[in-house]
């Protein structure tokens, strides 16, 4: 059993004609059923509205409307036929702050150029197999920006969706925290109320009984 990629359509938005042709050829070789192309973000958005493709692959740096602006339009424009469509952004930038900027605009995946066939395939697999939940918060709408799946969270829960813990649960949490703290004290040879001297004069961790005030 293999992917039935012939059932999907992909829109490629790229102003560099040879690059556009290469990306299209790779997708067709993978078996993608239909590849729609656009030479800039503005045309790209019109084609998106017209064809409603399953995946969008867009270059970042383009005249008229760049890949980031296109993504924001896809996510927020009322004319957008599918604000949840996966957007894979292609770029030569790999610097952390630029990646974060792209992520904050609602991009789903990031594909750094130059890339191999395997790199492109991996991003496509990622949007198929690991779709991200969407978040609407303040002025942001897009895929959840947290990449790590933190299943265990022990901090305060302050979201609407979170259950409000009962007094009993809070007490139990407090007791658990106290037990854990005591274990740490026992391990370090400290007693409740001891302070730790971390100044250079203290040289190493040492415990000093607080002098009574």
């Amino acid at each position: 059993m293999t992917y039935q990629l012939h059932r999907i359509s992909v829109l490629v938005v790229e102003d560099n004609a040879p690059m556009l042709e290469i990306t299209k050829s790779l997708l067709l070789t993978f078996g993608v059923g239909s590849v729609i192309s656009a030479a800039n973000g503005d045309i790209g958005f019109r084609r998106f509205c017209q064809y409603n493709p399953d995946i969008i692959i867009a270059d970042w740096m383009m005249e008229m409307l760049n890949g980031i602006d296109l993504t924001e339009r896809i996510r927020n424009n009322p004319a957008s036929p599918n604000p949840y469509v996966p957007v894979i952004l292609m770029t030569g930038f790999s610097e952390k702050d630029r990646v974060l900027h792209a992520r904050d605009s609602g991009v789903t995946e990031f594909l750094v150029k130059p890339f191999t066939a395997q790199d492109l395939y991996k991003r496509i697999t990622q949007v198929i197999e690991r779709p991200r939940q969407f978040v609407r918060s303040g002025d942001f709408f897009g895929p959840d920006r947290r990449r790590k799946n933190l299943t265990e969270y022990f901090g305060p829960k302050r979201r609407d969706a979170d259950e409000i813990p009962t007094e009993q649960v809070l007490k139990e949490q407090q007791q658990e925290a106290n037990v854990a703290l005591q274990k740490m004290r026992d391990h370090a040879g400290l007693e409740k109320g001891d302070s730790i001297d971390l100044t250079p004069e203290g040289k190493s961790l040492s415990n000093k009984r607080k002098s009574p005030t």
């Binding site: 059993m1 560099n16 952390k96 779709p131």
Partner: protein, 192 residues
């Protein structure tokens, strides 16, 4: 712990949320359409082969980006008193990024390696002064030489020597003008 402190600790767990966030899990129609199983290695190899055998001539594209790089340098020189140094650097940075991105796609991995070093240099540069522009020009000349000489591989030991010489120029520059290096940049690395 005083009563007030205890109350404060307990209240910490009862705070109201700061921002309203709505979480939506859209239906995975893509998965429904394509099913499972991935694609075979034979197809991936075929696609990679296609990429490696593409007959696109990179030279006209590279010339376009190199011209844009020169225009960027000219813009910086013309507007050297412009306080918006970020825009000035961007005029050079974007064509450098395009060379980095496209070189490797069209059989010029050495162009990608050299342009990548230029991008890294520009990413931490605070103000594009004349000495910095001289370094950018050196990168421009080197990339042009690689294109004109049609050096389509990694350049071997000559390629490595070129990269080392350009790296050394950047290190010397920041040794002379350490204040012109943005150490707050997330990609800033103190080690040479």
């Amino acid at each position: 712990m005083t009563k007030a402190q205890k109350a404060q600790t307990e209240n910490r767990y009862k705070q109201k949320q700061l921002r309203k966030a709505e979480f939506i899990m859209p239906p995975n129609t893509l998965k429904e359409k394509v099913g499972s199983g991935g694609i075979g290695n034979d197809i991936l190899n075929k696609a990679q082969e296609l990429l490696e055998n593409t007959a696109v001539d990179f030279q006209p594209l590279a010339e376009m980006y190199l011209k844009a790089l020169m225009d960027g340098i000219a813009d910086v020189r013309a507007d050297k008193d412009d306080p918006d140094t970020e825009s000035l650097i961007t005029a050079i940075l974007y064509p450098a990024m395009q060379l980095k991105a496209n070189g490797g796609m069209f059989h010029y991995p050495l162009v990608t390696t050299i342009a990548d070093r230029l991008v890294q240099f520009l990413e931490v540069l605070v103000k594009p002064d004349e000495d910095a522009l001289e370094i950018v020009l050196a990168y421009h000349t080197t990339i042009r030489a690689v294109i004109m000489g049609r050096i389509t591989g990694d350049g071997g030991k000559h390629g490595l020597a070129l990269i080392k010489a350009l790296d050394a120029a950047c290190i010397r520059y920041f040794d002379r003008f350490p204040y012109n290096k943005n150490s707050k940049h997330p990609d800033f690395d103190e080690t040479p």
